[in-house]
Every structure is written in C-alpha cells, then in structure tokens.
Symmetry: C3
Subunit: 139 residues, 3 copies
C-alpha cells in the first residue's frame, strides 16, 4: 500500500465549467496504481468541483445558467460585497456543489462512468489561478 499527491494548477478566464478529466486520468496512469482511492480537492471557496456529463456541451450551458439563476449576481440580496458583486454568488454556488470528490481506482483507472467528466466549476468573472490537489492511496 502506498500513496501519492500532485497539485494541478488551472488558469481560469471567467465563469464556467472547465473539464479536467484528462489531466487527472493521466496522473493516475503515470502513478501506476492498480487499485485504490482517488481524491480530488479544490483549495478555493469561489470555485468548485462537479462530475457531470461530458457528451453534449449543452449540459454545461444549462448547468451554468441554472446556477446563475438560483444564486444570482444581485448585490441587494447579500451583505458580503467587499470582494465584488460576483463573490457572494460564487460562495453560494460552491456550497451547492463540491469541494472534494472521492473516486475508487480499479484495474488502473478511476471508475468514472461512460459519460462522466470531472469539471472545475469557476464561479468568478475575472481570471483566477486555481489549485486542485490530487491524492491517491492503494496498490
């Protein structure tokens, strides 16, 4: 039994879903785990993680629109405004999605389903530098 860690750095341009499946799958393959547990961790409170369909890009558009609708950018609704009008909705959208994901590894691969992609969900409007920590434990 052994473990391994890596930090992915993602430069985001604006709000939206950025697929990071390939980076993660490559790292698991390179680290040569046959079976184990993969953890994906986002070190931020205004960006989050999501496992979602990566076949039809319309799904990403609808997800983006949905979260903009249920946690709207509207300064009148929030007390917290010092970091800009997009910051509090970003915290709420993060709270409603994931900061960490746990995915078993089997036969050398994370057991993602056929249509599952791993996304970084950027909630801020301006560019940000995001750190995603990967951890694997197993054989």
């Amino acid at each position: 039994m052994r473990q391994s860690t890596h930090t992915l750095t993602i430069e985001t341009k604006t709000r939206g879903l950025i697929e990071i499946t390939r980076d993660i799958v490559h790292w698991v393959a390179k680290e040569n785990f046959r079976s184990g547990l993969l953890t994906v961790y986002c070190r931020h409170t205004s960006a989050s993680l999501l496992i979602q369909e990566n076949a039809d890009p319309d799904v990403q558009t609808d997800l983006q629109n949905y979260f903009e609708e249920i946690a709207p950018e509207d300064p009148d609704r929030y007390v917290h405004g010092v970091e800009g009008p997009d910051d509090m909705p970003a915290h709420i959208r993060t709270a409603l999605t994931q900061t960490s994901l746990s995915i078993p590894i089997l036969e050398g691969k994370a057991v993602l389903g056929t249509w599952q992609g791993i996304y970084l969900f950027e909630h801020r409007t301006r560019p940000h530098r995001r750190e995603i920590v990967l951890h694997a434990i197993g054989d």
Copy 2:
C-alpha cells in the same frame, strides 16, 4: 492495511429514493474490516447519492417534491433536450446532491448515525440500470 472493491447493480423503476444501506452494510461486514474508510461512488450523471433520514418515509416524499420543484421538468428552460425532457433536470438534481460519499468504518461498521440511511436518488422517469462502486480501505 488492505483494500476491497465491489459493484452494486440497482435496477430502478422510476424517479425516487431507493435505500441501499443494507446492501452496503452487508458488504462491509462480509469483507471483515475492523476500521477504515468506506467510499460509495455512483457511475452516473442522472442519478446520485444521498445520506438522509430513514425513519419517516414522508421525508423521502418531501425531498423528491423539493428537487422536482427547484429543477423542474420544463423543456423551455433548458437547451439540452435530446435525451428527453427529464434528462436535464436529472443532471441538475445530481449536481445539487452527491456522486460520492466517504464514511469511516469503526468497530466493524460504517459510522452511520442512528437515523442515517444511504440512498440512490434516481432522477430519470424510465427504468435504468445503475452501478454503485463500493471501496473500503483499512484493517
């Protein structure tokens, strides 16, 4: 330290919460872990996982109604429609709940609270075959 993996296959009939606690508890007992970490992983993007009260079935009715209300089946709201009118709401309800759960194992049992049950939350209307991957690591 050792690890073990198993895939549960669940045939769903329609939308709703399906309790899978017993299947999971049995597997942990059979694998004979004294202490460790259990991961439950759903390989789908239109069904999800939830830990919720398993005492009063009304809780499940209210949860079902709530998610139907906040992510309604209404084609006019979504761009993605090719897989049927229930597919995009299914993706959103999945995004708002869980794809993976992590539960410590202590004294041979997952440390579920007294009222906690583990549910597969099916979001599609028609029957589906769902795969839930279980992983345990520990002693």
Copy 3:
C-alpha cells in the same frame, strides 16, 4: 501506512455555521500524519458540513439567509412535520450541502486553502449535540 479515528462532539445552540477548523487541524497535528487523507463525517441528517470562506463573517450570514430562503420553514410545503416545522427544511439544507468531506494531508497539514474553514452547519432551531467523526489514513 496507518490510520486513526476521533469523534468531535459539538453542542449547538441554534441554526448557523460553527467553525470547527481548529479542532480538526489540532487533531491531525497530534496524530502526527505527514501525508495522507483526512475524512470528516457528520452523523446527522439535520446538520451538515461545509468548507467556506472564514475571513468575512458576512459570508456566513449570507449563506445562512440563502439556505433559509431556498428551503423555507413553511409547514404548508412539506408532508413531514412530526419533528417540528424546522425539521424538513433541515433535511433539505443537509441534502444540498455535505455529510462528508475528504481533504488530503501534505507536509503534516490538511491542504485547506488560505481562506477555507471547515464548518458544521446546524439547521435545527433548538440546541443539539452533534457528532463529527474524523478519520485519517497515511504515513
């Protein structure tokens, strides 16, 4: 490779976010893990976990208000009422946030970002005794 477990007991007074970062960080330091995986697990269905900004307390106020708004205490909306009018909204707010968190440990510390705090999110109005199980595995 080794593992360790601990139960934190938190006495809550009423609804709101209670920061438990310090208790968790202290436990990880005391257990002396250099690298590994930390799991935080909440044994309840009307209280949950959240990683959020711990700089400006206004963020906590806005999060509290937001969840009160999207899952309001309004008996007319819910079938489940036997445990009081605040119970069903508590279950929904739990479903929308987290029951478990997974955080890698690197160089002796959980890899929390600069602004990330770990919160117990109490959703019931009256005082409750909450159990949070911590589990670490690693070297």
